[in-house]
Symmetry: C2
Subunit: 648 residues, 2 copies
């Protein structure tokens, strides 16, 4: 059975009050959402204008002008609404709601009589709509519209935006589909597939499910739609010199036949998310198997230790198995976010913790690395090794930045990160009628109604710096239900106490299932050993051979020049070192640092004229190595950084 066995807790039921995550909740509420609103309204001075809401106003006839920005500029406001909607669930804010309503009014005003809504074509000529599904992002924008509309409906019960989205979906249904006379196409940039399933869960309208399924089934079928489209448009193919060709769009073969994660990484994981949704709704085992295979392709062979995916700047794409260069990496923030979407769906179908392990890996590393600690600057590319001089002088590293940037012309990552973080509570807790799954350990209060009564779970933890989690249950009466506690893949030893008593409990699919009659005041204490852990990469990863990474719990560490001096490649770590942890409250908004014994190759043995000389055992100078969490890098001076370090 492929039905989803769990769903996210409503965000309003999760009050986060966590020493680690409060900072990010604050960023989302008080930085990202207000700042991005100003950006979308072109009221921020020292960045390129967004034009996003302006395009809607022009399309609505509210002002004159031409379309400006990327062809998918509409999606920025949709993502912003989605993020805002999530926060409204757990942090009601009338003023923010008013802004969203204002945006919804502008968006809806641009809708055409038949439901069509994409400002690029409304402004530039509706006769061309649906003629370049491959590259012009109409269905992508609609996907984001649906996601935003569903989120806002869930948060407020207001249906105006949802109705707008439904009308637009219906317009698409009338133009695209299997029936004769319709275009037999699908989006160049996926997302609408998973969005339609969310819509279907609200509307119950089988048309919405059918359209999602059509997009999945039709993708990559012969005759290849994108080839036909290119031919009829007389377009040349942007990727003609590429290895991936139509697989840039995951559209070179039917999705059920796809075995390797290839092409544009964000598109890939958005597609796979939609595939998992459709497989679940339609009990399509073959499709689910394809999802599992593609997930394994990513996680077994194409995943950075930071949770990053997509190793090539060219096409922002996957390349080939075990090709994970640290310095010419892409690992887009959005791709890690999309990977989380995909993993969550696979988890909800399977209840297997291995999917959430990857979510956690991405949450604590390659997603939040995308934003500076002050919330004002963003990484698009998340490298694992940086030499600032190379970023400047090696053309192939021009997209790798040694410092976060203010705002991008293609501003996908900042709002995407906002919508992810604003909904982290839902990733932390999933439930069904009798089970509460705790996936991420975050302090706060969680409300559920299991076993016929209402519960509040008061969670206390210093995660990710410490593996102790204490859960105190408040509930008016006894009730039987299950609490599933995830034992992360990094955890090799743990103990669990209920009301102070050690309990024996073997994990099932990576979860400790506590099934019993709980009563008010019950206390669960999970204690996970969280030592510093040295990690090796598979020796097929050329770039990491002979190196280790330092991790603690889910957190990946790195060396920065600021703490360790330049020429990080000269450093070696002693794997038998004592590793000293220290929580430094004033460093990087409070981080656990790690010190270890290491060495530096003695430069003094090299004269300026010696580029090569006869081998001699390198003279090593002892040096303490200081590691900081990867997510917090590039928040001080600009300098070198490296996740992987050579070992003795």
């Amino acid at each position: 059975m492929l039905n989803k066995k769990l769903e996210m807790l409503p965000l309003k039921n999760v009050k986060i009050n966590d020493p680690f995550w409060n900072h990010y909740m604050d960023l989302v509420l008080n930085q990202s959402i207000p700042y991005q609103w100003e950006v979308l309204n072109d009221r921020v001075e020292d960045i390129e204008p967004s034009h996003c809401l302006q395009n809607f106003k022009i399309a609505a006839g509210m002002q004159e002008g031409k379309f400006e920005g990327m062809v998918f500029q509409d999606s920025d406001i949709y993502k912003w609404i989605e993020a805002a909607a999530y926060t409204l669930e757990w942090h009601p804010d009338k003023e923010l709601e008013r802004k969203v309503d204002e945006a919804v009014d502008i968006i809806s005003a641009a809708q055409q009589p038949d439901g069509y809504l994409d400002t690029y074509y409304i402004i530039n000529g509706l006769d061309k709509r649906f003629t370049c599904l491959m590259d012009n992002h109409e269905l992508y924008c609609l996907g984001h519209m649906i996601e935003g509309a569903v989120a806002y409906y869930n948060a407020t019960g207001k249906s105006k935006f949802l109705d707008t989205a439904i009308r637009c979906v219906n317009c698409v249904s009338e133009n695209i589909g299997p029936e004769e006379g319709k275009k037999h196409g699908y989006p160049g940039h996926e997302i609408i597939e998973m969005a339609l399933i969310r819509l279907y869960k609200i509307t119950g309208d089988k048309k919405h499910l059918a359209l999602a399924k059509y997009f999945i089934d039709q993708r990559g079928q012969e005759p290849l739609y994108f080839l036909q489209e290119m031919k009829s448009n007389g377009n040349s193919f942007y990727w003609k010199k590429s290895n991936f060709q139509l697989m840039y769009y995951q559209a070179g073969m039917p999705v059920r036949e796809q075995k390797d994660a290839v092409g544009h990484a964000v598109r890939a994981v958005y597609l796979y998310s939609g595939m998992a949704d459709v497989a679940s709704e339609t009990e399509d085992k073959e499709l689910f198997d394809a999802c599992e295979r593609l997930w394994e392709s990513i996680v077994y062979r194409n995943l950075y230790i930071t949770g990053g995916i997509g190793s090539s700047e060219y096409g922002e794409a996957f390349t080939f198995d075990y090709d994970l260069p640290n310095d010419t990496v892409y690992a887009e923030t959005c791709a890690s976010i999309g990977l989380i979407f995909f993993c969550r769906r696979m988890f909800e179908i399977t209840k297997e913790s291995r999917y959430i392990d990857i979510c956690e890996q991405a949450f604590y590393n390659g997603t939040i690395s995308g934003v500076s600690l002050d919330g004002k600057r963003f990484f698009y590319v998340n490298p694992l090794e940086v030499d600032p001089e190379a970023c400047e002088k090696d053309y192939h590293k021009r997209e790798v930045k040694p410092t976060r940037q203010k705002w991008f012309a293609c501003a996908c990552c900042p709002p995407n990160l906002a919508r992810l973080l604003a909904s982290i509570g839902g990733y932390a807790y999933e439930e069904n009628e009798s089970e509460l799954y705790i996936n991420l350990y975050i302090s706060g209060d969680v409300n559920t109604s299991l076993g016929g009564t209402d519960e509040t779970f008061h969670v206390e933890t210093r995660y990710p710096w410490n593996g102790d989690v204490r859960i105190r249950i408040k509930q008016p009466q006894k009730a039987a239900y299950s609490i599933a506690l995830r034992i992360p893949n990094w955890c090799e030893s743990y103990s669990i106490r209920i009301n102070g008593e050690i309990t024996d409990c073997d994990p099932e699919k990576g979860y400790l299932m506590l099934t019993r009659e709980f009563e008010d005041g019950d206390t669960i204490e999970l204690s996970m050993d969280m030592p510093i852990r040295l990690v090796n990469a598979n020796p097929f990863v050329r770039e990491d051979v002979g190196k280790v990474a330092i991790t603690k719990g889910p957190v990946v560490y790195c060396l920065e020049q600021e703490d360790n001096g330049a020429q990080l490649q000269e450093l070696l770590i002693d794997p038998d070192s004592k590793f000293v942890e220290a929580f430094e409250p004033d460093l990087l908004d409070g981080v656990m640092t790690v010190s270890a014994d290491g060495y530096r190759i003695a430069e003094k043995e090299w004269k300026k004229s010696d580029l090569y000389k006869s081998y001699q055992k390198p003279a090593l100078i002892p040096q303490k190595l200081k590691f900081i969490p990867y997510y917090a890098w590039a928040n001080r001076s600009i300098g070198e950084m490296s996740v992987w370090v050579r070992h003795l």
Copy 2:
């Protein structure tokens, strides 16, 4: 005094008969030159037509058609003539001479009444000539014309082609120069500077020296000529996103102020060669100092161990100090050839062996690696590490080929290599009235006239596989002169015997100077220890830290998949290993291979699902490592290759 203290022996005085180089002499005579003649005449079927001679015929009105090929297509025939001319010196061939005459007739027929000769502009419109010196290669083509014309004149005494070249130089002089009314420009691709000095040495015409000096002095002066040219052409700048900007052309600042080798590597070393020539002819110490500084920039900080230069495919350019990636390398064959040109000039001025050390490094590695053992295929890019899958699937490595290619649309390297190899005798022996410098150890017979008599030096050696060199002197009478024997930088121990008796002799600037009255039958025996040598790179070279390269004498070795299996990154060498040399006559046309003790990381400890796991000291499986000379790689199956290997 910056005058050149030595000059190459005339090639006709050097008869090579050498177990190593005979093969390449044979390739040049019997493969390169005949094959390239067919190519230039568009008579080779399975490659893109060259159009080279066809363009000349069209320009001469001998046939109809339009210009085809690169804007610098003319240079291919000039390079071919130069190569042919060199062979005619040491291997007279009437039929080849007839072909050259035929080419010269066609070329000369295209010359315009005022001496102008560049088929691109003759065919496309002479009104545009000299309007795009930055990119359109007129002066580059003329530079090659001069080089070819001088070489052919030297070989045959025939002056027709030389006269053609002189007329064209005079035409340039009338259009470009410091005088009012002339263009104050210089070439975008250098070479004419050094070519003009060669011409000047024959003509004695001060105008030719003055033009070379003008091109050097004017380069990079404010107002920047190329900026003016772009402005007046309304051209956009191809390199506008680059770090190097006008320094792609070494034209962003006056050459005397340049401290770092930057920009397009071939252009750079061609310029520096011309600078050295002009510095020498004009006793310009400041200019010479710039040459020395730039040479040190290359050799101390920007040189691959193979003699390759220019680490970036983008712009075929230098990047920054110590940036020497092995897998995204460029290291164009032509750039190593140009480096040899530059080094030879610096040597002739200084008599310092360090310049010839670099020539030797390039000769035995990064130049001849450009051609397959059968002479039919060529590398443009000479990588130090190759994974064929990456070449195919990583867009940034698309120019790195795992196997040599038949012929390039931009066919600079094959004819350039031919002209270099055809003149290797001149690189091996330089002389003045009283000294013979032996720079490269090559078996054969060498004729000179030193100390008032004629000598023949009969040289026997198995170099580069063995460091013993035996020189037997034949001369009719006693004569006093000096023989300078280069002690290469890799040689740590040697002995010298004259007529069997050990002689004490300290090297001067890297040469053993044997100065005495020689007589018929004298025998000199130089015995250089040539053990296997492990080499380290400066730890500033990030990619080579923790690795060694294997060398023997001047030859750099590499690992190939064919001998060592795939996943070369899993291999480790034991630096304390016994290294076993074996000459394998049937392998790769006869090479000395090297075996060493090493290890391979045990893959079996890794499950398919393990991309990362907790560190454990890697299990190592003993494995013999087999190294072959780098120049001979990629002559068997397509597979991985690596010069650098990790050490225990």
